[in-house]
């Protein structure tokens, strides 16, 4: 049995889906956050039910590919079987608007259960509704729920099971109830006529249901019209024009007639069964909005919120990361003391622990970032940010609608690019996709935190409230955004020229974010980050360790290490002099080994490319190795520099290693300009295979991932070059 969930954005649909399925799905207040179709398998009273979460939509008049998904699934026009039942979710506090979609879904011809979600807040905001009356008038089961409190779910499940049992097998591919549409007789008559014409056209049965034909008639220029004209030929196009003209002659203008008739029906329906006293929630929202979306203060607050998010990440993550780092150091020395020097110990401490470990160190930052994004989305602020930023996005030739995909790209460009499906304008969407990878994703954060923590002084201003480190972090996190401005302007004026697209955005009423939902999302992202750290990054660490170790004869190195360790364990103070001599020798041997390894040879060959950026060949190799996934750089640097034997004696961990790294002439490799140049390179480079793959999928062409990769790599090199060259002259 297949059950599809459909509803407007901001109805708590994803939360309900989570609650029904027990599966964690990203949810939020922003229109269109659920862009992917999600499926969960559940068992309800012995029925194996497949739950399908459809993208949030305001109507079944699709104008974007995202909205078309819903129509295709409901009508069985895609390759999958048609659902056996639809649950239509409405926001009980805004039923007038939400029932619009419900009246369209009723015409699809599938058994329907109407779910009035957010019932608790509707009741507390003064709505009182005769649920039984609504059910009777519409002829479908109606169940009030409060998904965020898990209330009403049992009743909803029961209603669904009851409907499934009653209607089992009744739904066929072409079952169709458009005949019972609330739309007026002349419209239904034209739909019948069009259906008759299509019967002889050779269009497959599932595509000429009364419902789909009505959509093609009532939504001029929409995706359904295009689909049918494609299948039936241009003759159908002529038929549609004639039918619309016939209706116009009867004072029924398309598309106005549909909206008027539906809202009229809903108005009459609700006037009999719904009463509102005071809409306290709307009032509260307006009062909050008076401050948060104020023309002047609102904008400052928005900037302050962003700065606060980045500052807090910086404040909280430092001690947490240090704790993790300490633990890893302990683990590494435990392994060292229990094994004698050899290839396996080298693999474990220098490949595995330092590789995967130095990525896990950054888990606190990633959790915090997703926590903030989740909170902002869930309370309704994200949509406000889009509203306030629309004028600024207009400078880029984009709309506020691009703000969420770009904002999400601050966490990860992959979901960000997928979220561009809600942008119905093709040009806006492509430009957004192409600049999304410039946003500072969470995988860049480890690089910034490492470089800033190691090389940027802990200077504080304004009585300790503003630290230089936090400011650099903020600057690096916004650099991509700043660079994206001219890039987008250029793209909008060259490859994607055209009129600005319409902007209509719902600003959902504020609500307390559900901590359960937000924590679930944090958990999900942390988990996927660790899984990536455990597979892709682990593999890369070991590969880089191997490339940095072989070919080479390590016997001398292991002998020296063993000698030093036995001297240390005997009496470190007494043998200090001898240990130092041996250590210097060991460092030279290590350096020689790395230079002559596969990695070292490649690195030295291409070193001239990196010298103008202030990098030695080891940084260059690290950057090369991190082109598949940028977070690998931490692991790679850790592996390369610990193999290189530059481990400082006082400092522990990667930070100490980097500080101790030197050029062959003995001068320090890393300085503030070098650290900045590395960060700028990472800020601007497309070092992420997953992102490029998603661009390929979303644009359905190899051209655009190649374009993104090319322009960003050039941008990154130029940016890093300028940073270093200006930096050393200051």
């Amino acid at each position: 049995m297949r059950v599809a969930l459909i509803g407007n954005p901001n109805t708590g649909k994803s939360t309900l889906f989570n609650a029904l399925s027990g599966m964690r799905v990203r949810t939020g207040n922003y229109p269109g956050v659920t862009v992917e179709q999600r499926i969960a398998k559940v068992n309800w009273d012995g029925h194996a039910v497949e739950l399908i979460d459809l993208p949030g939509t305001y109507s079944l008049s699709p104008k974007s590919p995202d909205e078309m998904v819903a129509v295709q699934v409901l009508t069985g026009c895609c390759d999958e079987p048609r659902p056996d039942l639809v649950i239509c979710i409405c926001n009980a506090a805004a039923l007038e608007r939400n029932l619009y979609l419900a009246t369209q879904v009723m015409e699809v011809g599938l058994p329907l259960v109407l779910c009035l979600n957010m019932w608790d807040s509707a009741v507390s905001s003064g709505v009182s509704l005769d649920v039984a009356g609504l059910s009777k008038k519409l002829g479908v089961p109606v169940v009030p729920t409060s998904a965020s409190r898990k209330e009403g779910l049992t009743e909803l499940r029961k209603a669904v099971v009851q409907e499934l049992e009653a209607g089992a097998g009744a739904v066929s591919l072409h079952s169709d109830s458009f005949g019972h549409s609330l739309l007026s007789e002349p419209i239904r008559h034209e739909v019948d006529r069009l259906c008759g014409w299509l019967n002889t056209s050779g269009v497959p049965l599932e595509k000429r249901s009364g419902f789909l034909v009505s959509r093609s008639l009532l939504d001029p220029g929409g995706s359904v019209e295009s689909m049918l004209v494609r299948d039936a030929g241009s003759g159908y196009s002529v038929m549609l024009v004639e039918a619309r003209q016939a209706l116009k002659d009867k004072q029924l203008e398309i598309p106005a007639a549909e909206a008027e008739q539906r809202y009229h029906f809903i108005g009459e329906l609700l006037s009999a069964i719904q009463s509102r006293t005071v809409n306290s929630r709307a009032k509260l929202t307006d009062r909050i909005d008076a401050v948060l979306t104020h023309r002047f203060f609102g904008f400052l607050i928005c900037l302050a919120v962003l700065l606060l998010v980045f500052s807090t990440i910086n404040w909280f993550s430092a001690p947490l990361s240090e704790a993790v780092e300490g633990g890893l150091g302990l683990l590494s020395s435990m392994v060292s003391s229990s094994m004698s020097p050899g290839p396996l110990r080298s693999l474990l401490t220098e490949g595995v622990i330092s590789g995967v470990g130095s990525v896990i160190v950054f888990l606190p930052q990633i959790c915090l970032l997703f926590l903030f994004i989740g909170l902002l989305e869930d309370c309704g602020y994200m949509a406000r940010a889009a509203f306030m930023m629309d004028r600024l996005m207009g400078v880029l030739g984009l709309s506020g609608r691009s703000f969420l995909p770009l904002m999400s790209s601050f966490a990860c460009a992959v979901p960000g690019i997928m979220a561009t499906r809600v942008i119905d304008d093709r040009r806006d969407r492509f430009v957004t996709i192409l600049i999304a990878p410039l946003m500072s994703c969470s995988a860049r954060l480890p690089v910034y935190v490492l470089m800033i923590g190691t090389f940027i002084p802990e200077t504080r201003y304004l009585g300790g409230w503003l630290s230089l480190q936090a400011m650099v972090l903020f600057a690096m996190s916004t650099l991509g955004l700043v660079i994206a401005v001219p890039v987008a302007m250029l793209l909008r004026r060259t490859l994607f020229r055209g009129e600005p697209s319409p902007f209509l955005l719902e600003l959902p009423d504020y609500r307390m974010p559900s901590l359960r939902v937000v924590i679930g999302r944090v958990w999900e992202s942390a988990q996927s980050f660790v899984v990536r750290a455990g597979t892709l990054i682990f593999a890369t660490s070991v590969l880089v360790w191997a490339a940095g170790s072989f070919p080479g004869d390590h016997r001398e190195r292991f002998e020296l290490t063993a000698k030093i360790e036995s001297l240390e364990s005997a009496d470190a103070e007494l043998n200090a002099e001898e240990i130092e001599v041996l250590s210097t020798e060991l460092n030279q041997v290590n350096g020689q080994l790395l230079r002559n390894s596969a990695l070292g040879r490649v690195g030295r060959t291409i070193e001239p490319i990196f010298v103008p950026l202030g990098w030695d060949w080891r940084i260059g190799v690290g950057v090369l190795a991190s082109f598949p996934a940028r977070e690998v750089i931490i692991a790679t640097l850790g592996t390369i520099y610990s193999l290189g034997g530059d481990v400082g004696e006082e400092d522990e961990g990667l930070r100490g290693t980097l500080k101790a790294a030197t050029w062959p002439d003995g001068s320090s490799v890393f300085s503030v300009p070098v650290a900045l140049s590395i960060m700028v390179f990472f800020a601007l480079c497309a070092q992420c295979v997953s992102t490029l793959m998603v661009i390929k999928r979303e644009t359905n062409s190899w051209l655009w991932p190649a374009f993104s990769f090319g322009y960003m790599t050039i941008l990154a090199w130029v940016g890093a070059f300028l940073t270093y060259q200006i930096g050393i002259r200051m």
């Binding site: 305001y58 109507s59 008049s61 104008k63 506090a93 805004a94 007038e96 608007r97 619009y100 939504d219 001029p220 220029g221 929409g222 398309i254 598309p255 106005a256 549909e258 909206a259 008027e260 809202y263 009229h264 108005g267 009459e268 609700l270 006037s271 509102r276 005071v278 809409n279 709307a282 009032k283 929202t285 307006d286 909005d289 008076a290 979306t293 104020h294 023309r295 002047f296 609102g298 904008f299 509203f387 306030m388 930023m389 629309d390 004028r391 600024l392 207009g394 506020g400 600005p500 319409p502 902007f503 209509l504 955005l505 719902e506 600003l507 959902p508 009423d509």
Partner: protein, 101 residues
């Protein structure tokens, strides 16, 4: 603009704090149908809430839902100003109660 349009008040002409009743929706069908399905249908009462920074979009409330749009979209909505609603129009009355609060 044709002669009839001169006297027509548009949603985009209203200042924050005022409210009006929708009389007609014009403009390209793509924008018009999106406006209508979001509740801007003849008879609906629209409250103008506030304008975004830098002369950005304006926030409206219609059917109890807050929706923002730019002046380009708001120009497609013809309105009649004030609260002189036709008492026979139940939708307007129920929505008016909202505005009155």
């Amino acid at each position: 603009m044709d002669g009839a349009a001169v006297n027509t008040l548009r949603l985009a002409d209203l200042t924050p704090g005022s409210s009006a009743i929708v009389t007609a929706i014009g403009g390209a069908s793509r924008i018009a149908s999106r406006l209508m399905e979001m509740g801007f249908v003849p008879g609906a009462v629209v409250q103008v809430l506030r304008r975004a920074p830098f002369g950005g979009p304006v926030q409206y409330r219609v059917h109890g839902v807050s929706i923002s749009m730019r002046s380009a979209e708001a120009s497609c909505v013809s309105v009649e100003s004030g609260l002189a609603a036709n008492p026979a129009n139940t939708k307007s009355v129920s929505a008016l109660e909202l505005v009155a609060q």
